[in-house]
């Protein structure tokens, strides 16, 4: 079994992303046609059987999500494609949109059919505005070919896709902040319930999925050879796009079968750390992800194995940091990110990020006391268990995991 497989990315380079004819020539939209001949519940089951989990970061069972969304009865329902991809060192969605926009449009439409929605929204992060023409073209051409819009392929199914650009806030990747952003409000998360599947965008039932999650679906529907489920094992079937970055020779997006070891990803696909430097730490899943050190290298990249090793898949990013950056500097950089990106609504996240930033700076100046470290851990814990949304909850993942992996750094008098 190779390290770099082509299942989700199988269309990359095979067609002209500006041309629907080119996409049709490689079998594009066959999955939509097949889907529209199926019962929605069977589509959701197909996804559930392949154990596809949400690829945005939360890893929620996608088949279950679609099935639950289907079960909500309402005259007007929505689908949202979350293309906010704000996690640091995460760029797989960009590659999917750039190389395979029609597959995404097809997938969103299949989702609309499955959950009985009439409208789909793509929430594209502001930094990806250069991809807007590509998506707008794909939407337009799909409409012209009656593969989107009214009465698609004479099935009576109406579905429209709208493209919406964010304004640059990381927190808008959080579902409830995302919908507020589309509604024209300030992008601040709200409490749940109500849950999105019941009351989401414009207070309509809404099914939100990540770009990568969507992109799997058309391939899965056409996967008669059951190739996808032949990869991986247990709860981690199929393949995964990882965004490999940081101090590696060959950073980039790689599609790996679940179960590939972290070592193979970094040292084979990424060809290792350049310049004779050594590995300091690895952060998994973006700025909100946890970190580990070289001890994790032989862990297979699966949901369960990573969890057992103290980290998570998250957004699917792998950030490699070599010995030129200290753990403390890494944490300060991560903290700066969250101190900038917290929406500020809830106390733990608004005030906690500020104080942890101050203590980390104190550490860097060599002025921190053991009491400061204790307070920092306390605040980080409070943030992770009592914040309003996932941002505050996960903002201190890096710090709390660093405290476990590198305890000496947090002993005053120890090596910084």
């Amino acid at each position: 079994m190779g390290y770099d497989v082509k299942f989700i990315t199988k269309n990359f380079g095979k067609y002209d992303p500006m041309s629907i004819d080119s996409y049709l020539s490689i079998g594009g939209f066959a999955a939509l046609k097949r889907a529209m001949a199926m019962d929605g519940e069977d589509i959701a089951s197909l996804i559930a059987e392949a154990k596809v989990k949400g690829r945005g970061g939360a890893a929620y069972d996608m088949g279950r999500k679609w099935s639950q969304s289907r079960a909500v009865k309402a005259p007007h329902k929505l689908v949202i494609c979350n293309a906010d991809e704000g996690e640091t060192c995460t760029f797989k969605d960009r590659e999917l949109i750039k190389n395979d926009p029609f597959n995404l449009i097809e997938a969103i439409t299949i989702c609309g059919y499955t959950v009985n929605a009439q409208d789909g929204y793509i929430y594209l992060r502001e930094e990806y505005r250069h991809l807007r023409p590509l998506l707008l073209n794909a939407i337009k051409q799909a409409e012209e070919h009656n593969l989107l819009g009214y009465n698609i392929q004479n099935t009576g199914f109406n579905f429209h896709i709208h493209l919406y650009s964010g304004a640059g806030a990381y927190v808008c990747g959080e579902g409830t902040a995302l919908i507020r952003s589309i509604e024209g409000k300030a992008g601040r998360p709200r409490k749940k319930p109500p849950f999105m599947k019941v009351s989401g965008l414009f207070a309509l039932p809404t099914c939100v999925n990540n770009v990568e999650s969507f992109s799997i679906v058309p391939h899965l529907l056409m996967d008669e050879a059951r190739e996808y489920v032949s990869y991986g094992s247990g709860e981690s079937l199929g393949t995964k796009l990882v965004s490999l970055g940081g101090n590696v020779r060959r950073p980039g997006v790689y599609e790996i079968p679940f179960g590939t070891t972290v070592r193979d990803i970094i040292y084979e696909l990424g060809q290792g750390i350049p310049g004779g430097q050594s590995l300091r730490l690895i952060q998994f899943g973006g700025a909100s992800g946890k970190i580990s050190d070289g001890r994790i290298l032989d862990t297979p990249y699966t949901y369960d194995d990573l969890k057992a090793a103290g980290v998570t898949v998250g957004s699917g990013s792998i950030l490699v940091i070599d010995n030129r950056t200290s753990v403390l500097d890494f944490l300060r950089m991560t903290q700066d990110f969250f101190s900038e990106e917290s929406c500020g609504q809830c106390t733990p996240c608004r005030e906690g990020n500020l104080h942890i930033k101050l203590i980390l700076e104190k550490m860097a100046r060599g002025e921190a006391t053991q009491a400061d470290i204790r307070d920092m851990k306390k605040i980080a814990t409070i943030m992770s268990i009592s914040s309003l949304c996932g941002l505050g909850e996960s903002a201190q993942n890096a710090l709390l995991s660093a405290m476990k992996i590198f305890p000496k750094i947090f002993e005053i008098g120890g090596a910084a």
């Binding site: 806030a169 300030a186 601040r188 409490k191 319930p193 101190s339 900038e340 990106e341 917290s342 929406c343 500020g344 609504q345 809830c346 106390t347 733990p348 608004r350 005030e351 906690g352 990020n353 500020l354 104080h355 101050l358 307070d375 306390k378 605040i379 814990t381 409070i382 992770s384 268990i385 009592s386 914040s387 309003l388 909850e393």
Partner: protein, 587 residues
């Protein structure tokens, strides 16, 4: 067919809180369930009359099986749920959050307007915070103190969002909102303008719900204390009808307690030379406003006529619906009528030189401070009402002079401006002005007393009420609404020509004046309803229940005003309105 009689008994849910079994209706939040067994889970952003915000997170508790803590204000109970409110983790979290809030809060408690009456301070006392564990990071922000009614001190803001919610959801004004993010998040006005230059009406509902001193009324207590000590000054005070059913809240009485007699004693002990009743001038308002209504009906005046006694409402219409100003009754509010009468009739009657008379008004309202400062409300460069104190400031004065309020005996209002009818008393409740007017107008037109005297259709807490009454010669269709959100709906209808009413009563605050922005802290809708009930009780207990039967009013017209809408009346008791792009600037 909706029949409330047939609503099913709510399904009950059983849970355990700290191992104590609790039974509550399905849909109850953990916060309320805990309260039922006597556990007060700390909370700050939660307010019983507002949508749940779940932002302060200080109500975080443990729920068995949950990976994180749960905010008790927004967590619905379920069958078999197990909640723990006093574990080490919960305590660390609640105290930790409190410390984080404290660290970003101007802690000059000893000189704070809300010293001893601050929800944040109460929590710090409760958790016995002696050493701040988190370094102070308070950002010194400028206090906004440019209008006569409301002071904003953003350095004391804890970002709970209660002011934002009441301004948006209850008043529909949205003069306050959140801006910025992370630790730069602030509550501010559009373009950071001073309140008076925004859509704000100075209704003060924000100051009523704020848990700290981030938004307070402008404190005028010292002005009054100084006047009371000034031997030159003859200081007289009027008290609005809504104060006597709210004041007791601050002294350990049940919500809605009627404390008129003790209130008068307290004012006399404070040193006021005369203690008069705004109920008296409420009757005067009815005489003028009722006559104006009849005049408009008989002479084809601008209809429908709108009431004009709520200053928040006047500010609202001047800013938001200036084209509808001709609909407003020109009658001044009871407070301003009182001021005008005090500085003319009373001066003559008592022989005290006008320049020595200092009039104080105790009002349930912050916008009254603004009203009293309007140039129209005075003559010859002199204000008719020299100082307005909110009920909350009055409470401060009672504490200041060290009165044990509960032990005070009862006293009567002074004469000649101290008698009010039951009609004047109910001015403080939504629908009260309408009912008071109808009692008099009905009798004036039909020549007989309305039977029953109670106009129940215009009573009650619902946002908009309407009714039609047969005056024999003509039917009158009336409407009553409270809160500015409802006022806006009504004005939108009026603009579209969809209002076929003759007379509309509008009060800016929920429940009317009894729910005003200057009322005691912890005013909730439940308490508002009790205060309303108490006003109707006062009404029933009084010898005169119709404004035109008030003997002091009869004398006033006989000796001084002549008749309603006379030239003297017009000069003293009526006013004009104008479009406001921005309010007057005050130094």
């Amino acid at each position: 067919m909706a029949d409330t009689q047939e609503t099913k008994k709510p399904e009950m849910v059983h849970l355990k809180i700290n191992n104590i079994p609790v039974e509550v209706p399905a849909g109850t939040m953990v916060l309320a369930a805990a309260k039922q067994i006597g556990i007060d889970i700390p909370h700050l952003c939660f307010h019983p009359d507002q949508e749940i915000k779940a932002k302060c997170r200080i109500c975080s508790v443990e729920v068995k099986g949950s990976r994180k803590l749960s905010a008790a204000c927004t967590t619905v109970v379920w069958e078999g749920m197990e909640v723990f409110t006093d574990t080490q983790l919960v305590r660390d979290t609640q105290v930790g959050i409190l410390q984080l809030i404290m660290a970003d809060h101007d802690k000059d408690c000893l000189t704070c307007p809300r010293n001893h009456r601050c929800e944040l301070q109460e929590l710090c006392a409760r958790f016995n915070i002696q050493i701040p564990h988190v370094p102070d990071v308070t950002k010194k922000r400028t206090t906004e103190n440019t209008n006569p009614a409301i002071v904003r001190n953003p350095s004391k803001c804890i970002k709970c969002g209660r002011c934002f919610r009441v301004c948006k959801d209850v008043q529909g004004v949205e003069a306050l909102t959140f801006a910025g993010r992370s630790d730069n998040l602030i509550v501010t006005t559009p373009y950071n303008l001073p309140l008076e230059k925004t859509d704000c009406t100075l209704c003060g509902q924000c100051s009523l719900v704020c848990p700290t001193a981030a938004i307070v009324e402008k404190d005028d207590t010292q002005v009054v204390l100084d006047a009371l000590q000034d031997p030159e000054k003859h200081v007289i005070v009027q008290v609005a009808p809504a104060v006597r059913v709210a004041l007791g809240d601050a002294f350990g009485y049940e919500g809605g307690a009627i404390v008129t007699g003790q209130m008068v004693t307290a004012l006399k002990m404070l040193g006021f030379d005369k203690v008069f009743d705004t109920n008296f001038s409420a009757d005067l308002t009815i005489m003028e406003e009722g006559s104006e209504l009849l005049h408009r009906i008989q002479n084809g005046g601008k209809m429908p006529m709108l009431t004009s006694c709520s200053p928040g409402w006047i500010n609202f219409i001047e800013k938001h619906y200036p084209n509808l100003l001709p609909h407003l009754s020109t009658a001044k509010s009871p407070m301003s009528m009182f001021g005008a009468i005090a500085k003319t009739y009373y001066a003559k009657h008592s022989g005290v030189p006008v320049k020595n008379i200092f009039t104080v008004a105790i009002m349930p309202c912050t916008a009254k401070k603004y009203e009293a400062a309007r140039p129209e409300m005075g003559r010859d460069g002199m204000r008719d009402v020299d100082a307005v104190l909110t009920t909350r400031e009055f409470i401060k004065l009672i504490h200041y002079v060290g009165l044990s309020f509960k032990d005070l005996p009862n006293s009567e209002f002074d004469s000649p401006l101290g008698v009010g009818s039951g009609a004047g008393a109910i001015f403080g409740a939504t629908g009260g002005v309408m009912e008071a007017a109808l009692r008099t107008v009905y009798e004036k037109v039909t020549g007989k007393e309305a039977k029953p005297l109670e106009f129940n259709d215009v009573r009650g807490f619902q946002g908009v009420k309407e009714a039609t009454y047969d005056l024999g010669v003509r039917k009158v269709k009336v409407a009553v609404c409270h809160t500015l959100r409802n006022a806006r709906k009504m004005m939108d209808k009026l603009e579209k020509g969809e209002c076929d009413y003759d007379f509309i009563e509008i009060m800016a605050c929920p429940g009317g004046c009894i729910g005003g922005g200057g009322q005691p802290y912890d005013t909730t809708n439940e308490i508002r309803k009790k205060r309303i009930a108490s006003l109707y009780e006062i009404d029933k207990s009084l010898p005169y229940r119709k404004s035109h039967e008030n003997p002091d009013i009869i004398t006033l017209y006989k000796d001084f005003l002549g008749e309603p809408l006379s030239d003297t009346s017009h000069h003293l008791l009526h006013t004009t309105y104008h479009q406001v792009h921005k309010l007057y600037e005050f130094k």
